[in-house]
Structure formats: structure tokens, C-alpha cells
Symmetry: C2
Subunit: 512 residues, 2 copies
Amino acid sequence: MKINICQFNYKTCDFDSNSEKIKNILQQSNTDTLNIFGELSLSGSPLYNTNLYKDLYQSTSKRGDELCRSGKSFIVGTPARGDENECYNSLVFVDKGEVKALATKRNLSRFDDNFVNGNGIETLMYEGSKIAFGFYEDLDNFFRRKIKVDLLILCSNVLFDKDDKDSIIADLSLYARNMKAKIIFVNRVGAEGCFIFNGSSFAMNERGEICKKLSMFEEETSFFETEKLKPETNKPLAYEEKIYKACVLGLRDYFAKNHIKKAIIGLSGGIDSAVVVVLGVAALGKENVMGVLMPSEYSTEHSISDAEKSAKNLGINYVTIPIKDIFSASLKTMQPIFEGTEPNTAEENLQARARCMIVMAIGNKNGAAMLNTSNKSESSVGYGTLYGDDSGAISAIGDLYKTDVYRLARWINRNEEIIPENSIKKAPSAELKYDQKDSDTLPEYDILDKVLTDYVDNHLSEQELIKKGYDEVLVKRVKHLFKINEWKRHQEAPALRLSKTCFTTDFKYPIS
Amino acid sequence: MKINICQFNYKTCDFDSNSEKIKNILQQSNTDTLNIFGELSLSGSPLYNTNLYKDLYQSTSKRGDELCRSGKSFIVGTPARGDENECYNSLVFVDKGEVKALATKRNLSRFDDNFVNGNGIETLMYEGSKIAFGFYEDLDNFFRRKIKVDLLILCSNVLFDKDDKDSIIADLSLYARNMKAKIIFVNRVGAEGCFIFNGSSFAMNERGEICKKLSMFEEETSFFETEKLKPETNKPLAYEEKIYKACVLGLRDYFAKNHIKKAIIGLSGGIDSAVVVVLGVAALGKENVMGVLMPSEYSTEHSISDAEKSAKNLGINYVTIPIKDIFSASLKTMQPIFEGTEPNTAEENLQARARCMIVMAIGNKNGAAMLNTSNKSESSVGYGTLYGDDSGAISAIGDLYKTDVYRLARWINRNEEIIPENSIKKAPSAELKYDQKDSDTLPEYDILDKVLTDYVDNHLSEQELIKKGYDEVLVKRVKHLFKINEWKRHQEAPALRLSKTCFTTDFKYPIS
């Protein structure tokens, strides 16, 4: 059987461009080839509330009919309405232009809002073979029915997870051996909002061995004959490279799909902005990224020189706009309120907000969007200024703890100094008062990040954390800070999701 | 059978205060009375990701055991773990201190993240009667089993919806008649984050007539004997009064549950801030609300006098802090960038951001949280400044279209002028440039709000809207503005939910 896996980057509700991609493939395809596009390939995904609107179904079914007129064979994903107007997440199997079967998702997942539970995996005869096709989420239900098939075709839009170690391959390998069937798995690629899909579609034989593996983070098609599949070995990407490529893809698609060309970023000389600007340049090109240096009286000399070096290494345009005048004016303005009070975060936040004001003003003047530079350690404990450095259209490293930011920086510098070495080496500081260090207020990042990983990502309880050997006072403090800062996290720039627990558009935690 | 409905305001993960409330009732109760607390009464709700942590189950089960030691009879809601550590949203039926039955929610709902599907409604004999108890969401499954019972006890935490016309009463009235059973429905009261639960628990007889109705928005207990239930009529609250009380409860709980005492609000003289400050004072007391007037060169005289009047009518403290110095300093600072460009939103946004800076600085100095004053019309089309007037800890009227804000304002003024009449009468303006009116940029609110209601809330498609008689150009423009502003909406202050479609912490829409 001739198969063509089409691992594409679709766009939510951009029916024309999605169907154009599919149509181009079908035009070139032979009639004896089965072209597999992924889950919701025709409509894009996540659909969220857009699937409450009638025109979504009109648009996709009109384009689905057009695709059938090609006379070719394919599997395409689309939302579909049932007899009572209920909506299913569906895969349509078309054999030489004729709709042969419809698989509707039974076990709904993260992005399936407003869909109803369907029937699961379907079987049919195609080119003399018995095929099962449907959603990966429904495989276990199908397996329990003990139906013998030659080939299983599974589609699912699976989110990138930096910590995942090929869990789907391991899982499907077991099923392939148990069911004595070949399996084809098709994932989409590309980002939508904060969500990154990494592709990595594959085909495996009955022994659960990988025979074809499509690339991570890139559009690709792969043609093969199922009878001729042979085991292949693939070199996995390094942890840092996966993160780097995911962030670059996430930023590129965020800008492209929102029709924004240019990015603007405040460069502090610190490691966070130094890493984000590298990612921004890789995503958008150096001509589309502008750096802003905004020194204050509390800025150290190295913070200015490091920021300049960071911009120069990348060859981007940058401007230096001191915050002195705005900061003085705001202190003068606030004098009736501040007079006679002890300096506190109010004065510090004024500086961060002045910087946000400047970056946004340049952005508003030039149609550029602000890149946020917060990291996950900061967001977890609320170390940052709302409407100040917590701002931005999109946060590239918001799902990376500070120690991972360092790791990524060292990887970026593996061949040459792109990020100023001093930004990596020096002690982190917000520079909102004299001689400030992050460690004045926060535990050292190597300890903090370990506690956070176990608390936020691994969901260990207080007792479990203490039992594991973390200091009790520290654990209680981290837990408390995490809890009281959800209201703030909610308003921070949405972060590209790189892990299972990311403070982004769909993160849920009690706000009080 | 003696019943005591306990309609309480619980707090998420505040196990001590929740169990204390329950314990107090049990101490006073006779052993022959069944006390009904609501869904997740012991743990509070929404639990969101907190139910991934072991200690949640340890805390609630420990307190559940303590409650049993009272020897009294009650139904309490709690998360519970199954044999394989899977988690259920459960109701426990305790008869004179002994656990008699456990109903686990089968049809999971909005706040049931990380719970697994349970068994639904359970039956048992209690005081010689056959009783069914469980979650409202599971009633239809139970009904289909055709089990005859004398009394149905249903618990569910149901969100306030300003447009709801007693739909649960209408629904349960049908079931009561069909099943020939009395029904008791227990809802919680109070707000958690942006979510408002309005109580309105009730008991109805076999003919589906309301015999006991607890109040809306207030904690209350109601004791009665099921044999003596008699139909009662209740006067429903007016639309505006419901909204007013919901917002006041929402603000009060947001502040109390986040341990914040004081609020601060920018008063522009416009209707939005004039309404929000009234709600803030009703929620927190006039001594805890501070107004800030921040005139600029574009402020009209009436905007200052209206804002002053608004503060004076309520008897709150207010300060006047002109933005002139910060605005001039920021224009001077931005000169290298702005020079030779046409004035655009960049200059306008600087003013809104200067105001945000001032309000936040006062807030940071005094431990006060900023009240946001955006409305749903503005958020829908992106009319507002991110990190400017879109800011705030909580948005009181973010789920009200401008026309509803006017309606609420007139209701507030029904007996006396609390909101300056001029704030209600004058044409809305952001006053960010000379002679600016909202209608320069936006359609008139009475038309815009109708289109938005049909598009955003009623999910009519473009064709349906045009068929309904709306201007095609307007429809396309509104749809476009709605679509391109999700990235902005996501970072706005979270809004108190007053309807089914509210741009708040759990709103989902594609960001690109």
C-alpha cells in the first residue's frame, strides 16, 4: 500500500490556506496513494469557541467536497456536524474521491471544547487490506475490541513537551506488537498562540520498530510502501536543541499568524533578554528585531556594555533610551503620596513600568510587538513587575526555569560567543536599586528551581517535598509565593508551552 | 423528614474555615435533622490543579472524619480518592455519624479538572424514606433508570448568569412531576476569583412547586420538614439588582479571599469608573476605597468635576495627580523615536500607561489593589490600552456591555444621584486627544452592543447576522476586531463572570 504522510503546519480557521496545502498534494498524487493529513487539518486547531459558529461547518464541508473532486485518496481531519447539530472532531477517509468512512473522536482531549464524544476508531477495506483509522486517544478502546487489522492509521495533534522521551513511540510499539499490525502516526507541526506541535510523525512495523520518522518542528511529506518498510534508526535532538527549535518555531508562527512582522525587546544585559533576543532573531530575522537599552541610575556599567554586545553580536538595530526623565517625573508626580514613606517596591516598579512604557511606545509607533523576557522561576514566585517586565505579546522562555535558561544560553554559545559570556556568568539582578541581586529576595536558582520542578511540575505535596530533603522553611515559602501570585501570573504575557505545566492561556489555578 | 439546607460561602483549599462552618451547624443540629452542605463544601471549589496534590485528600478526609464524630446526619461534598488513586468529585451521606453512601460525579463539568467520571446518583434508605442523592449534572442518567424514590437531593455549584431565567427550577420541576418525588437543590454562594455562585437553593414538592427558596447572593440556612412543605411564591430580583449584587459579592470575596483590604481606582468622570467605584464602595466600605483623578491637557472641565462629584457623593478619599509631568517626560524621552512621525495611538497610549503607573504606585505604596474599569464592549473590540486602562487586579464590569453599564447606572441612581447625572448623559470619550469621542472610532454603543450580543454571546455566524438585518460592513468589522484582539483580552484584568461568555480566566479563543 502506498502511503504519503503529510506533516503540515495548518492555521486555525484559515480554511483557504489549509485546503490549498492539501489540494496541492492531491494534485501531484497518484490515485493509488493514500495521503494522510492530520487531525483538524482542514480547519486548523485549536478551534475553541469558533466551533460554536455555523459557518465553520459550511466552510470546511464546502472545501472537503472540493478535495473529493480530485478523485484522489486521502484522510483529512475536520469538524463535522451530526444529525442533531452536535459537533464531532472527525477524520474522513476518502478512497479515490469517494467518502468511505468517518471516524469521530470518542475520548476528547484538551482542545476539544464544544465537541461531543464520537464513536472512536473505524475499520474499512482499502486496496485489499483491512485498515483501522482514527484518533490516537481512542486506541485503547479499539484494542479491547480485538479486531484484527493489517494497518492502523492514527492521527493526533500532540503538544510539544521538552521532557517527553518518545512516550508515544513506546506506547504504540507495544500496541503494534500486541495487535500484530503496522502503525502510522500523524501529528501536525507548527504553533498556534502558545501551543507548539512538533510533528515527528512516523510509521512502524508489526514488531513496533520505527521505519519512517519525519522531522521535528518542520513541514515534511514522506512517501513509502507499507510492504517495503524497514527499520531505521534516528538520532534524537539534544534537550537544548529541542527547546531552541520549539521556541523559534513558536515565535515565528505567533508573529506570522498574527500578521506582525517586527519585534521589539528591552535588553538589560541580563541572561533572560540576551537569550530571548537570540530566539527572536532566529525566528524573525535580524532586520525585524529591535533592541532597546534603557539604563537607569541603578544600572551597572556592565549591564549596558553586555546589552550592547548582545545586540552587536546579532547585528540588530538598537537604541538607547535612558529612563531617567520619566523616572524623575514619576517620582516628582508621586511626591504627595510617597513623601515620608520608606522606599519599597513602589519605587522599583515605577522603573520597570517606565521601561514597559518606552518599549510599548516604540512598538506602537512601528507596528512591532514586545517580546517578554520573564522565566518560569520568576513567574512561579511572582518576581517581576506587572505592567512592567511581566508585559509583552508573547513570552518565549516563560516555561523555562532560570537554570534551563542558562543551559540554553550555553548551548547557543557552543561554537561562538553569541550571548555575551558576562551575561551568563554574572549574578542575576533586576537592577531596580543599588547593588540589588535576585538572591537578596529569592533562594539561589539552583535550589529554587529544584523545589519548583517538584512542586509545580511533579505535584509533590508539602510533606513529600520535606521528606525528599528540601528545607521546610523554603518549601513553605515557595508554596506560599506560588499561591499568592496566580492573580499576577494570569496577566503576564502568555508563554510558549514547552512542558506539561505552563503558565499560559490555559493554565488553571485558584486565583484566591 | 427534617432537613436543614446550608447555603454557605466556602473558600478554595481553606479546609479549616470550611470545616468550621460545617462543624458549627452540626453542633447545633438535632440528631434527627439531615444537614445538607453543597458540592465540594469541605474543600472549596474550583480546585483546578490543587487536586493533583496528595495533601488535599489528607486534609479533607481528616476533617471529614472529625465531622462524623459529631454523630449527626449530613451530606458534605469533598474530593475523594479511589483504589487506584484516581480522584472523584464526591458527596458523602452520613447518617448519625456513620458514612452510609458516597455519590461520585459522573458527568463532569467546568471546574472538574483532573477528576475522573464517577458512578452518578446513589440511593439509600434514610429515616424510613427512599432517598436519591448526588449531583444535578447526573440527574438525567438517574431518571432513565426509573428508580422510584421519595426524595431527590441534588447538589451543584452553579455559576451566576445574569440572563438565566430560573432554568434549573424549570428543569427540576419537570423531573419532580415525572418522578413524583420531592426535590431539594443545594447551590453554594460566594465568589472565587472571577466566578460568582449565587445560592438560590430550594426545595420543591412532587408537583414541581417551589416550597422553600433561599436567598440569592447570601449565606443562609433553611430548616423544614419535608412532610410540611407548602408552595410559596417569591419575588424575583430585577435584572439590574441581580447584576449589582453579583458584582458587589464578587468584589468583596475577591478582596477578602486574597487578603487585600483596600482598593484604588482611577476616576475619569466617565460612566465606567463612576459605576465601578460605587460597586467597590458597596463591597469594601468607603474607608477602603481611594479615588485618583489624573487630568491631562485633553481632559475636559466636566471630566474633573464629574469625577470629583462621584468621589464626594460616595464620601471616599481622593487625590488629584495630573499626568502632565510624566506625559511630558515620556514625550521628551521618546523624541528620538517619535520625531517626524504622525501622532498615532503611541502618544495616546502613553497617557493611559502613565495613569496606570500612578494608580499602581499608590497601590504598591499602600497595599491597595487596582480596580479595572473596562467594559465588555471595549474588550470585545480592543478599545483600550494594554498596561494602561486595561489593567487592574479585577474587573467588575468587564462582562457588561456599555448599554448594560448605563442600565446599571440608572438603577443605582433610582432614588438619588449617586453617580453624577452628567457622567450618564455625556458622550463617552477616552479623552486621549482633543475632542475625542468613542464614536469617532467605534459604532454607536446601542448598535455595537446588539451585534456583539448576537455574535459573542449567541454565536450567530456572519451570514446569520447579516440575515438578521445588521449592516454587512459593520458585521465584518466587528468580527475582525473581535478576532484580532484576543491576545489583548487575554492580558486584561480578569473579569467577574456575569454571563455564559465572559472574557475571564477560563475564556478560550484562538489567539491567532
